[in-house]
């Protein structure tokens, strides 16, 4: 089971410069664990405690995961995950 994960510029230091990597998992949490095993350090940049970081946006098939269960959001083979840092400030 393979899920394409699009990685933003700022996190490509963890993926050897790759814009897109493949990972596995039945939920977003499991996918991030799988990412972490191949790209150590990336989990910390996505997750804060039991939640996604406030200023990191994750989309499954173009849906913001905050509206479909957050880290518990379900994933299936062929899904596409996009990670984008929020563009925000004060």
């Amino acid at each position: 089971m393979a899920i394409e994960v699009r990685v933003p510029t700022i996190l490509r230091t963890y993926t050897g410069g790759e814009k897109s990597v493949s990972a596995e998992g039945g939920t977003l949490a499991a996918l991030i664990d799988d990412l972490e095993s191949n790209h150590p350090g990336i989990r910390e940049r996505l997750v804060d405690g039991a939640d996604l970081r406030r200023f990191v946006n994750v989309y499954i098939n173009d849906e913001d995961v905050r509206f479909i269960g957050g880290l518990g959001a379900a994933l299936a083979d062929g899904d596409q995950v996009v990670v984008l840092p929020a563009v925000a400030g004060g």
Binding site: D64, V82, P85, A86, A88, G89, G90
Partner: protein, 151 residues
């Protein structure tokens, strides 16, 4: 140094004045690796706030998909400060996550929605370190391809 067409500069300033006293925000996209800000894309400030800005998450995805399809990147990310100077706030520094972007700050504190000069400055923000850079405005560059689908 960041180099902007006069029309792009004018469009950023007009957006900041229009949205005052809330913060305005947007990007100027350009060909990846070119460092040429060419396509003006004003964004909605989903926070609708005088002290905070954030691109709406759905529009953010659409913007990045569009830039991806056109082989572009956000060369400039701009926003306004409406009561303080055009210098990155602590929040701006903490949340800056585009290491290749020029972060442009416009301050509308002096004249608000009215005519009159604004402070217009640009910075690199990488790993919490702010470096101011020169802003060059050129009259000989073509006007931006203005996609004003969002006010």
């Amino acid at each position: 140094m960041v180099t902007l067409a006069r029309a792009t500069y004018d469009a950023i300033v007009a957006h900041a004045k229009r949205d005052h006293p809330d913060e305005a925000c947007g990007v100027v996209a350009g060909p990846a690796g070119s460092d040429r800000p060419e396509r003006f894309v004003p964004m909605v400030n989903a926070a609708g706030s005088p002290t905070f800005y954030e691109f709406d998450s759905t529009e953010l995805l659409a913007l990045y998909r569009e830039m991806d399809a056109r082989d572009e990147e956000p060369v400039v990310i701009y926003h306004s400060h409406t009561a303080t100077e055009a210098y990155p706030s602590r929040t701006d520094i903490a949340l800056a996550q585009e290491p290749h972007a020029h972060y442009v700050l416009v301050s509308t504190r002096e004249h608000g929605n009215n005519e009159g000069p604004v402070e217009f400055r640009s910075y690199r923000i990488v790993d919490g370190v702010v470096t101011e850079e020169e802003v060059v405005i050129r009259d000989d560059l073509p006007a931006p391809n203005d996609r004003r689908s969002t006010p």
